[in-house]
């Protein structure tokens, strides 16, 4: 951009046409996925009972004798056209030398394919002694001859019994008649065998999660939560989510990104909860990335976020399946990238980055206290060196006299101006941190200790920096460690330098202007159509938070309104019915 163009854009009028996506309230669920009335309305009408919610997910329906009808029903329930990990294997089953149409239905990544091949498909498809054996149709249980009349007790041939007893050499096979039970089994890693003309389905235990490959989280450590972390394999990651959510409404769509690498990405959301527009927007952005290759979720994040120039994170990156599952059930969309143990969650809002996965495991009072501490930590990390700079250089009168004398005394032997002194220390701290991250873990800790203790002490002894500054920098460093999100931590580390410069040149005016501009930037941002400061601004009413704080677990009735989910409620008005039973 030349200077003329810059000036024209800055000072003259122009019609700006920017890409703008705003999340609007979605339509309530259609009849297929539930009622169009809200739960409250239905509760008032007396239609909503404690079991209704369960039924909404698993409509009580029996298996049909026609295999085509069963197949269509399953396809529609699991949205197999877009759900990438749903596998339907059609085949012809041989039984008693006759052939029947059949299909297997299972979720990729949750089953052991070797078990399916060897102990389900093999005995059913390949001709062998069992399936070619042909005896009379009816089985004689007992026979008695009285007055030359033979009385036979006959058990009519039962195809289902025959398959169950002879053709599936598996230790755990159940026959189910209801779809709801079949859904539960499929969701938990079993496979379902449907055979034409039979109104029962065989629920075969072929679970095969990749247990050993799953590691503990490295960066998002919790005391009381799950110790599982995502891995590099996309299918293992989807199976981790499936296992936690355990519901057929979980959609996992595959999208390939990168014209050369064709990196597999999976878009995961709850069909009956997530806002359609939000899902469509995620899909749209992923489908319209014109790059040769994508190797990491960080790379992908930069290509799909709303404000590409902003240094604030706009998508949550997590390595914890429980956190991802929690946010999916809240109505957000998870993007898994193949080859990366971190998944992205859209939308990512400012206060999400101050939340720790531990928060939901703790009582809300503790969670809120820690959240408040983290917020203070963020403020200290960003502002403290700048404020010290402003007060120590320009607004000296604000420092109490005793403290001022201490500061002056401590700086007596330091030859550098305070600005230079603070820059030396801050850059040293960043160097130590960066070195600690880049070297192997045991060495990293040593570098940290050596850097902090030896270098700091030596710098004070050599009169390069004052002891008070060491306290300021160390306190800032500790405060920055309280920020639970890595990306927000980086943001605080970088902005701190701007505040130091502003504080030095303009004092409190500079800091004030800096905060104002920062507030303007944060207020103007949105992530996937949601205000970046939600739920604080705009305050949309129904949510599971009071401002930025969590409310008690029994009061979190609604999903966050800013997500405009299809299902508003996630708890009944009285969630602890054991304590407050319904009056008869």
């Amino acid at each position: 951009m030349d200077i003329r163009e810059f000036l024209r854009r800055t000072f003259l009028y122009q019609d700006i046409k920017e890409y703008d996506f705003t999340l609007e309230p979605s339509e309530k669920e259609t009849v297929e996925n539930g009622p169009s009335l809200t739960e409250e309305e239905r509760e008032q009408k007396g239609e909503y009972t404690s079991d209704t919610k369960v039924l909404e997910y698993t409509e009580e329906k029996n298996i049909f004798p026609s295999i085509d009808v069963n197949l269509e029903y399953l396809k529609s329930r699991y949205n197999s056209m877009i759900n990438s990990d749903i596998i339907i294997r059609n085949f012809t089953l041989t039984a008693r030398n006759k052939q029947f149409k059949a299909f297997l239905f299972y979720i990729d990544g949750m089953v052991d394919t070797k078990l399916i091949n060897d102990f389900v498909l093999n005995p059913l498809m390949l001709r062998n002694q069992s399936n070619t054996y042909h005896d009379s149709e009816n089985q004689i249980i007992s026979e008695a001859v009285t007055n030359n009349i033979t009385v036979r007790k006959i058990k009519k041939f039962d195809m289902s019994d025959y398959i169950y007893n002879c053709l599936i050499p598996q230790n755990s096979v159940n026959r189910e008649k209801e779809f709801s039970k079949i859904f539960d089994s499929i969701n938990s890693g079993n496979c379902a065998l449907f055979i034409d003309t039979l109104d029962v389905c065989f629920d075969i235990d072929v679970k095969g999660f990749k247990q050993r490959g799953i590691d503990t989280p490295k960066n998002e450590i919790v005391v009381r939560g799950s110790q599982e972390a995502f891995t590099e394999s996309i299918r293992t990651n989807t199976s981790l989510l499936r296992r936690i959510i355990n519901n057929e409404n979980l959609m996992i769509e595959n999208i390939a990104v990168g014209s050369v690498s064709k990196t597999k990405c999976a878009v995961c959301y709850m069909k009956n909860i997530a806002n359609n527009d939000l899902v469509a927007e995620v899909r749209y952005r992923l489908n319209n990335i014109k790059v040769d290759y994508i190797l990491s979720s960080g790379q992908l994040e930069q290509l799909i976020e709303d404000h590409a120039k902003s240094i604030l994170p706009q998508l949550i990156a997590t390595e914890r399946p429980d956190r991802a599952a929690d946010l999916i059930l809240e109505g957000r969309v998870v993007i898994i990238t193949n080859g990366v143990p971190y998944v992205l969650i859209a939308p990512g809002l400012f206060f999400d980055y101050l939340a720790s996965p531990e928060d939901l495991n703790l009582k809300y009072q503790f969670s809120n206290f820690f959240k408040f501490l983290r917020f203070i930590g963020l403020l200290v990390s960003v502002l403290l060196p700048g404020l010290y700079m402003a007060i120590a250089t320009i607004h000296v009168e604000f420092i109490p006299t005793e403290l001022l004398l201490v500061i002056i005394g401590s700086r007596e032997s330091v030859p550098f101006p305070i600005f230079f002194e603070i820059l030396i220390m801050e850059i040293s701290l960043e160097l130590i941190r960066e070195a600690g991250v880049r070297v192997p873990t045991p060495l990293g800790q040593t570098i940290g200790i050596v850097g902090a203790l030896v270098l700091g002490q030596a710098a004070v002894d050599a009169s390069i920096v004052s002891p008070i500054l060491i306290i300021i920098v160390a306190f800032t460093g500790i405060a920055s460690f309280t920020i639970p999100d890595f990306s927000l931590g980086l943001y605080s580390r970088l902005t701190r330098f701007f505040y130091i410069i502003l504080g030095y040149f303009l004092g409190l005016v500079g800091i004030g202007v800096g905060i104002f501009i920062n507030a303007v930037v944060i207020c103007s941002m949105k992530s996937f159509g949601v205000s970046y400061l939600a739920p604080l601004l705009p305050n949309t009413g129904n949510q599971s938070h009071f401002g930025i704080f969590l409310i008690p677990a029994w009061k979190r009735e609604s999903r966050d309104a800013f997500l405009a989910t299809k299902k508003e409620k996630k708890e009944k008005h009285i969630s602890m019915e054991w304590k407050f039973p319904k009056k008869a």
Partner: protein
């Protein structure tokens, strides 16, 4: 997320921040200078008048849903008048903006930044306000909704902190310089609320049009309370000689605050809040000015002119040569400009519009305003 509309809370914050800034700056000093010991009585009386006036404004606007004062001016006197009226308002807002920022920056310069160039400080403030305006009306409201509660808290904390310094004898004689100065000529102190003229442009900018009444009433009540608190602080805690000082009276009040022997000078916190508050104030005035420009220029996106507008304000703020001439602009020109234009001409326009509409409505009950 709609950044072209204001939510109710944001609208209240936007309206409050402008009067709160006037409290921080010199108008309060002029009120005390003119009414003496009866300032508290006078300001209570003025606040009651302001509440009545806001009821009147709401009544008029209820007849003109989704219209601003320019639409009413067009309805009352035609298109040409609307154009002149809009330009007059634009000049008024730019004038208020420029003298306020200049006054605040002069104070800052006296306290802390003696060596910094005045123009540099002005540019910093105006640039921040212009950046806020680049993104739209809703954004200015959002930022104001963070800063206004802080400012209210600051003023309230000041009131609480200086109660120990109150000298109750200072309210005597209770009628100050006399009944006339307190209630008749003193009514002119209504100009302290003149910044509320921003309210006249809010209806089309509100997300919920029906909340105009709520916005008007809550704003007037909050600002009245804050004005009463601050005038009370100034009258009871400071000697009358402060009216001759070049400094902002609010700063003189907060300088006298002491929180124990360690926190000897807590004014840093207040100064910090007032800096944020001033930038927010500027952004609100620029927002309304840009709205007027967009309306009369029929521009789709007037916010792109925010930097140009900031330049004009910068130029206007440098007109006053020194602090005495700035004081003259604030205490005389601003006061009478406000009284004549905002409370005189504008009230007349609103009244004419109201009665014309009433008459028209009686003749053609189905007719609605275009």
């Amino acid at each position: 997320m709609n950044l072209s509309k204001l939510r109710t809370f944001e609208a209240i914050a936007v309206c409050c921040i402008i009067v709160l800034n006037k409290i921080i700056l010199n108008p309060t000093k002029n009120i005390i200078y003119e009414t003496g010991s009866s300032s508290v009585l006078n300001i209570i009386y003025v606040c009651l008048l302001a509440i009545l006036l806001s009821v009147g404004i709401w009544k008029v606007f209820s007849k003109f849903p989704n219209s601003d004062v320019l639409d009413i001016a067009e309805f009352s006197f035609g298109k040409t008048f609307k154009w002149f009226f809009a330009v007059a308002f634009l000049i008024y807002f730019l004038f208020v903006c420029s003298i306020s920022v200049r006054s605040f920056v002069e104070n800052i310069k006296i306290f802390y930044q003696k060596e910094l160039d005045l123009r540099f400080l002005l540019i910093i403030f105006l640039l921040a306000a212009a950046i806020a305006n680049r993104k739209g009306v809703g954004l200015v409201g959002r930022v104001a909704s963070f800063i206004t509660p802080l400012t209210i808290l600051g003023i309230f904390l000041t009131f609480i902190s200086v109660t120990g310094l109150f000298n109750w004898y200072r309210i005597f004689p209770i009628l100050g310089y006399g009944i006339n100065e307190t209630f008749f000529t003193g009514a002119s102190n209504l100009y302290a609320f003149s910044s509320l003229s921003v309210l006249l442009f809010l209806p089309p900018l509100l997300e919920k049009k029906a909340d105009l009444k709520k916005v008007t009433m809550i704003t007037t009540i909050i600002t009245s309370l804050m004005l009463i608190f601050s005038i009370t602080c100034m009258v009871l805690a400071l000697s009358f000689s402060f009216t001759s000082s070049a400094l902002s009276p609010m700063y003189l009040v907060i300088r006298s605050i002491e929180w124990g022997s360690f926190f000897e000078s807590p004014e840093a916190i207040f100064t910090f809040i007032f800096i944020l508050s001033m930038i927010s104030f500027l952004s609100v005035f620029m927002m309304v000015s840009l709205y007027i420009i967009s309306k009369i220029g029929k521009l789709k996106n007037g916010t792109t002119l925010s930097l140009s507008l900031a330049e004009i304000v910068l130029g206007a703020s440098l007109i006053a040569k020194d602090i005495p001439s700035l004081n003259f602009l604030e205490s005389v020109i601003y006061k009478y400009f406000s009284l004549i234009f905002v409370f005189g001409i504008t009230s007349l326009v609103l009244l004419v519009g109201y009665f014309k509409k009433k008459k028209k409505g009686a003749n053609h009950p189905d007719e609605t305003m275009e």
